[in-house]
Symmetry: C2
């Protein structure tokens, strides 16, 4: 079971024969499996469906003397702001509770920067000659699409197991055209890395040339361990304030992977000055977000401690799935020298770095066997992975049996794609 | 009870004495009443609170083979799109169902026009030298704030009982800098006028110089009669298509005044080409809106006919309030020559045109007596009513007894403000 690179042609051809036999067998199964998105599974949704019946009567919608069925409270119910402050470790006055999607809050913040500028902007971003944004790669396609839509040149920054390459980041922010960076500090999408203490400190202490440089701190998986205990994280809001740049960071989170992905609540946390400015602009767009759903969530989730208990129940559903994926990767791909991956303990993804030039081909072959993955390249700005290497696996949605079949397909196809490189011929 | 203009000084002074006595009496009551916003009352919210329990179990969230608790269906559940198509009289393929606020959809459409342009835009609006928008006055302050925020010069257009002055509109749209117009076609905010058949036809047949001119057709009160039977309205989408400009109109509506103001569902209706373009941009901002709430609404409201039955029940709550307001105006202000108003049969407002130069003073005096109204000027772009005349009354929220007290205050103060003009001296 030596590395492909160390085998002779005969050995490689015999490996190819074995794999082609497996490929044919898998084709006969007529699979139709989807591992493309980080969607919670039905059993996770069932776990939290008591949320539907938290509020049953009109009078239960009264909170702190106001009726959450009616207009008002743009920044969210006070109790919802306190809930998020508890989860994120910031102050409730530093939060703004939104609708069902933190993605919308992120989009709208960038959009407002573009049309109006942020608190410390000399002018709206649309008036700048050139706009650049730092994009740690591999990263989250939906982040990159936002900055792409607003015309940013997206500068890739390498990810390391400790987070983005901070030497590079510190260098790049000297360019005043660089207006911000996308971050997923805990269980990064897609690799599942956790930013180290040093990385977080270096972020808080960044000295960007642009006065309105913004750290988009998407804490999407802040309480989302599927292995082991909850890993505490530090409050980036106060860290930036302590370092003298309180307006540099906006943190985002949501209950999309705590309760219902399409029907949860979301939050922005930032300095009070940023929240006040944001609220002024958000008040043109909205009278208030859905406060009934906010109240439902607060009564259901209660606080951070209670949320962590619920996350343990999610973990019990997710853990066997991730273990299956990692087991298959280990047993099929270890020591072949054609792929490597991190073993995450939280988040929603496993990211396989395939042999350069084989990611697209791998997924093409998978498709022939009826299994869909996130398109190769999706982890990079504009969908272009120059190495053609990164593949994001999303184990959360399919049941374990299907995952096993899908991973079987994946490993066979990844190896075939590698062999095609070594043998320099198409095998399928 | 002759017009103030026909009375001599002595008569005016004696009228002032009577009013000042009433003013003093009202002051002693220490009122604290709010008639500033078109908020439904608690009893209306109670009417619809069974909405809270429509969906009780996870399995009830399955619809058309998909799970509305999970991600997906950016344009909304098919059944929700069909619901709105039924209400608005268009096709479901011409609808996009949003979150809890049609205001957000309107804001975001203008914002996208600004940053990206609309379907027929030669360039994004932010790249235009000059941007103008037509604002029928009096109108809705939140509309005007959107176009103000995006830097439009707002051109007032006079409202008539048949809708905006179409001679003026047809003339103004010859200017290619004019990118659109705000409309509330049924029970206009604040006067409660219904656009005539001719007005609607002239809108559909507009020939604006700007290829991306947009009619913002805010059908906020499309089923909101509080007197008499439902008044059918025509489908502006097909009228514009028939007239050869299918992409010229975007229609908006919501359940904000059908179910819960802060927690309803909203819709954009437009040509399929516009909806496809909008969906492409909306897909950067969101994965999907809250489909659980969409399903809840569809199951609760069922269809247009069933919605109209519910609106009859809202009408029974609203009717006595509007009648009280109109009765007070009639008995206190008729034939004084100092105010006129339209008697609406639907919508959420009554608009009083006070003697020019007295609106602000009237509301100042009301405030002294503890009663708050929508600020004078709010009905005009940038909050400036050049005539200082229009006052919007929002009768929906307070109970009838409070309304009577508030209207008592209003009429006394409006008359005092007029007398101050005639007598040329401050009375309070």
């Amino acid at each position: 079971m030596s590395a492909y690179a160390c085998r002779n042609r005969e050995e490689l051809e015999s490996e190819a024969q074995n794999l082609l036999a497996r490929f044919a067998g898998l084709k006969d199964k007529n699979l139709k499996l989807d591992m493309s998105r980080g969607k919670p599974s039905s059993s996770q949704l069932d776990l939290v469906s008591d949320l539907l019946t938290v509020l049953q009567k009109g009078e239960e919608c009264m909170i702190d003397g106001s009726d959450c069925r009616n207009y008002g409270d743009l920044a969210g119910l006070q109790c919802a702001r306190e809930y998020w402050a508890d989860v994120l470790g910031c102050k409730s006055s530093q939060t703004f509770v939104g609708g069902n999607a933190s993605l919308s809050l992120m989009h709208d913040l960038i959009a407002r920067g573009f049309t109006h500028g942020l608190v410390n902007s000399p002018r709206p971003w649309c008036k700048e000659e050139k706009l650049k944004f730092l994009c740690p790669v591999p990263g989250y396609d939906r982040h990159f699409r936002i900055t792409e839509t607003y015309g940013f040149e997206m500068i890739p920054v390498a990810m390391t197991p400790d987070g983005p390459d901070m030497d590079a980041v510190e260098e790049m922010v000297k360019d005043p055209a660089v207006k911000g960076i996308w971050c997923v500090p805990k269980y990064s999408n897609p690799q599942g890395y956790v930013y180290s203490e040093e990385t977080v400190d270096r972020f808080a202490n960044l000295k960007p040339a642009a006065p309105d440089f913004v750290i988009m701190w998407d804490n999407a998986y802040c309480v989302h361990e599927f292995e082991g205990e909850f890993e505490p994280f530090r409050d980036i809001i106060s860290l930036c304030a302590d370092a003298g740049r309180p307006n540099m960071v906006y943190e985002f989170a949501s209950t999309s992977k705590i309760t219902f992905p399409g029907a949860g609540i979301s939050v922005i946390a930032s300095s009070e000055e940023n929240i006040a400015y944001w609220s002024k602009l958000a008040g043109v767009q909205n009278i208030s977000y859905d406060k009934i759903n906010q109240l439902r969530h607060v009564q259901y989730l209660k606080d951070k401690a209670h949320t962590l208990e619920l996350m343990k129940r999610h973990a019990r559903v997710l853990q066997p799935k991730f273990r299956m994926v990692l087991k298959m990767l280990r047993s099929e791909l270890t020591n072949k020298g054609i792929a490597h991956w991190h073993h995450p303990v939280g988040g929603y993804f496993v990211c396989v770095a395939a042999m350069p030039g084989t990611a697209k081909r791998t997924l093409e072959l998978c498709k022939q066997l009826g299994v869909t993955f996130t398109p190769a390249g999706a982890t990079h700005p504009k969908g272009i992975d120059p190495e053609d290497s990164m593949i994001r696996l999303a184990p959360s949605y399919p049941p374990v049996e299907e995952l096993e079949a899908a991973m079987n397909v994946f490993c066979v196809c990844l190896k075939l794609a590698a062999l095609e490189k070594y043998l320099d011929e198409k095998l399928v």
